[in-house]
């Protein structure tokens, strides 16, 4: 049973467009939802994260939209740049005290074409 589902598997957008990456989750106890990005040959790094107290979180060109009722959240990358080309992973965790762990989606390979 996959707890965090991510789509699309791959996405190509033109430079300047908005890229939209989607995730959904099953476990209603999840209360922390980060997005990580990973460039080829590198390790994943935190990009932006949200908690369910908010339905939107912005950081520059990156925005998370969160829908608690539908158990969905998405990452919008505005004014996409070729340097944004990477694999993006959504993830989820719950505040399980000492047993925090992130469950990752399968990733979206984003290609931004100049």
């Amino acid at each position: 049973q996959q707890q965090v589902r991510q789509s699309p598997q791959s996405l190509t957008v033109w430079e300047g467009e908005t890229a939209i990456l989607n995730c959904s989750y099953e476990d209603s106890t999840f209360d922390y939802f980060p997005w990580y990005h990973q460039f080829p040959g590198e390790s994943p790094a935190l990009l932006i994260a949200i908690r369910p107290v908010s339905n939107k979180k912005e950081d520059g060109r990156f925005t998370i939209f969160f829908n608690k009722r539908e158990k969905k959240f998405s990452l919008h990358i505005a004014d996409s740049q070729p340097g944004d080309s990477a694999t993006y992973f959504c993830a989820a965790s719950n505040s399980g005290g000492s047993n925090y762990k992130l469950t990752f989606g399968k990733g979206t390979l984003l290609t931004v074409t100049p």
Binding site: P34, E42, S43, K101, L102, F104, G107
Partner: protein, 112 residues
């Protein structure tokens, strides 16, 4: 940002042999994780620690896997014996809060 160090960066090993992957987390981080990633795809959780103690092992954590913290600082992931399907990049990560994970550069393991 904080640095998590992994050794080796890559290793090629014959099937059936033993391999030990090492990770030095950020010094004051209490949360520690091992993840497995195949071909740049999903990060799959293997095992996590809190304050040096194992909290949870996933179904992927086969009997051939073992984890240790030899001297209270760095962590090891040992696979004995290795199988072809163990070929992957193994990432360790640490965290001070359990939320933001800082990943090492990964150990690319190729089992032939």
């Amino acid at each position: 940002g904080p640095k998590v160090l992994q050794i080796p960066s890559h290793q090629i090993i014959d099937m059936g042999q033993m391999v030990t992957l090492n990770c030095d987390p950020v010094s004051n981080h209490l949360y520690f994780y091992w993840y497995k990633q195949i071909l740049g795809q999903q990060m799959e959780f293997l095992v996590n620690f809190y304050n040096g103690k194992v909290m949870e092992k996933s179904k992927l954590f086969k009997d051939q896997f073992s984890v240790e913290r030899p001297d209270g600082s760095y962590f090891t992931l040992k696979i004995q014996p290795t199988a072809l399907e163990d070929s992957a990049v193994y990432f360790c990560a640490s965290s001070s809060s359990g939320n933001t994970l800082y990943f090492g550069e990964g150990s690319r393991l190729i089992v032939v």
